[in-house]
Amino acid sequence: MTIEARGVVKSFGAFKALDGVDLKVANGELLALLGPSGSGKTTLLRIIAGLEWPDAGEILFDGENALDRGARERHVGFVFQHYALFRHMNVFENVAFGLRVQPRRIRKTEAQIRARVKELLDLVQLDWLADRYPSQLSGGQRQRIALARALAIEPRILLLDEPFGALDAKVRKELRQWLRTLHHSINVTSIFVTHDQEEALEVAHRVVVMDKGRIEQVGSPSDVYDSPATAFVHGFIGESIMLPVEVTGGAVHLNGRPLDIAVEGGAAGASTLFVRRHDMLIGPADSGTLHGAVTHVRSFGPVQRAEIALTEGSTIEIDAPRDRELRIGDRVGLKPRHYRIFAGG
């Protein structure tokens, strides 16, 4: 099923959670809503699920107005951030709930329900926990039971709110892979919300970056990482060096000194130069367009991270390959390999 949001606006009192959001989700896609807390991503997810109602705008499922229908009629599988498992029901009854509350004329027989629940518990590989209560499960197990429960109603859409948010780091990594595989096997249009860029970039087909109730960029993981559309996206995804620059007369100036790089994009006046840490090439003191002295070095893994005090007045951190050992006090020249300039300080 395709999902479309058109001009969705939602306020909570004076706080504007969504400020005109347009989004199209293709059939069978696995989409991530990525953004800092308060960016509106969870609100958008809850509006799609019918758990919240927009002040303005439209939500279309396969081109049909979804706002006519409440959460109950939308056939959306929703996995809550804190799972919201029914604490007085065991795992089996939790998963069976959606089947048991169906209107009598379409309700499955007890045997069919048992078979279906068994199938779902097998799918999430937790059939041995059927008799346990939620309080007896680990976080990762609860997460998978919540997913099985959502899938029981054969949802047309699967929505997951911070699916890995409450788990510890190791379990998160395992579940990421598992979610991707699972999505591949069930092939239901799915949207998940996360504030963790690694999670979004690793799991999703497409990533929607949100900030302050607006969509900043929609694109594949490599799109948003390699070609950030806005200053916010560049700053939010990956680790960037940010330098305040002035663009005048077709040249870029840092602290009044012209830099030997081409003006990129439509920036003019006070702007910000964004460079990925590993895109800042390091060379001898007389080379490059920026100059400075190494003030701190940490070496681990494949790179060394150096703190460099620029003669132009800022301090930046760069990642350099370890083929050339840096030492504190070394004078170096720097040149950005890839960079972006966005208007605004």
């Binding site: 109950r72 929703f78 604490r87 029901m89 709930f97 509350v101 429960r149």
Partner: protein, 300 residues
């Protein structure tokens, strides 16, 4: 330091002295004499003001032996009072249960302006003197009351009859169920209900299958306290009852009447039944409080 080390190694006696000296050095402990004085005062106060009155009820009730006690309870007037009290309690608990569930649902599952004020209004009967709780119904339904003439024309009896007693009791027990449920349901939030709805459950299915099992101990708690107060209410009921013998006397009212007639055994016999109700209520309350604590969500 080295002395403590050796003390720790020695068995029993010296180990205790170590614990004692540790207690003396504990910044959060008072000197032993203060401790003993506070405990003694607390026990003495509670014994004189709470334990003794409770004991005296049973001693007086059984003062002339078990036979006198039982025959006092077998009196038709006693039976009529017990029946009336049970009936009034059933009506008040029933209506306030429905109201309490509705109020708690509206208040805890939705956001609306004026919520705190509404809770204050629900609490209001707690701070109204029982006598005034009765008085307001006399002013409404009495012969000189707002509705008095109309009721007389239609031959409807509210005051000095079951409806009046029930109304006054409903008034004084009004907040109990709602008060027991609101904090619990507020803690539990709305996520499980949202999950149920998104899984296709109807409103009633959600309430009966998800909400009610989560709050059942809280409901029982509210019903328990509501019932205890309903059965024991004196002031409000006294004002609206009319004290018609064998008809409009509840158990507490009968305690008063018999007491004023110097029928001590009979009076305290009825009182002992009410005291037992209070004790059972307290025991059940302690157990329920533990269960409710288990229903409170714990972050993990």
């Amino acid at each position: 330091m080295s002395i403590e080390m050796t003390l720790q190694r020695t068995p029993d006696g010296s180990a205790r002295s170590l614990a004692e000296s540790a207690a003396r050095r504990d910044p959060r402990a008072e000197p032993a004499i203060v401790r003993v004085a506070i405990i003694t005062l607390a026990i003495a106060f509670l014994s004189i003001f709470v334990v003794l009155p409770l004991v005296v009820v049973f001693v007086e009730a059984f003062g002339r032996g078990v036979v006198a006690y039982l025959s006092a309870l077998a009196d038709p007037e006693a039976w009529s009072a017990i029946r009336l009290t049970l009936g009034v309690a059933a009506v008040s608990v029933g209506t306030n249960l429905v109201f309490g569930l509705a109020a708690a649902w509206a208040i805890t599952k939705f956001d609306f302006p004026g919520k705190t004020f509404l809770i204050t209004l629900i609490d209001l009967p707690f701070s109204v003197s029982p006598v005034i709780s009765g008085l307001v119904f006399v002013l409404l339904f009495g012969a000189q009351g707002f509705l008095g003439p109309w009721l007389q024309d239609h031959d409807l009896q509210i005051l000095f009859a079951f409806p009046g007693i029930a109304l006054a009791t409903i008034f004084v027990t009004f907040p109990f169920v709602a008060r027991a449920l609101i904090p619990l349901m507020q803690e539990q939030g709305t996520q499980e209900e949202e999950a149920a709805i998104s899984l296709g459950a109807s409103g009633l299915q959600t309430f009966f299958r998800v909400t009610l099992p989560n709050i059942k101990w809280g409901v029982l708690y509210g019903v328990l306290l509501c019932n205890a107060r309903a059965m024991g209410e004196f002031g409000a009921v006294s004002v609206v009852s009319g004290h018609i013998r064998g008809e409009t006397n509840t158990m507490p009212l009968l305690v008063e009447i018999l007491y004023n007639e110097y029928q001590m055994v009979a009076s305290f016999a009825i009182a002992s039944l009410l005291a037992m109700l209070a004790l059972i209520t307290l025991i059940a309350k302690t157990i329920l409080e533990r269960n409710i604590d288990g229903d409170m969500p714990h972050d993990d």
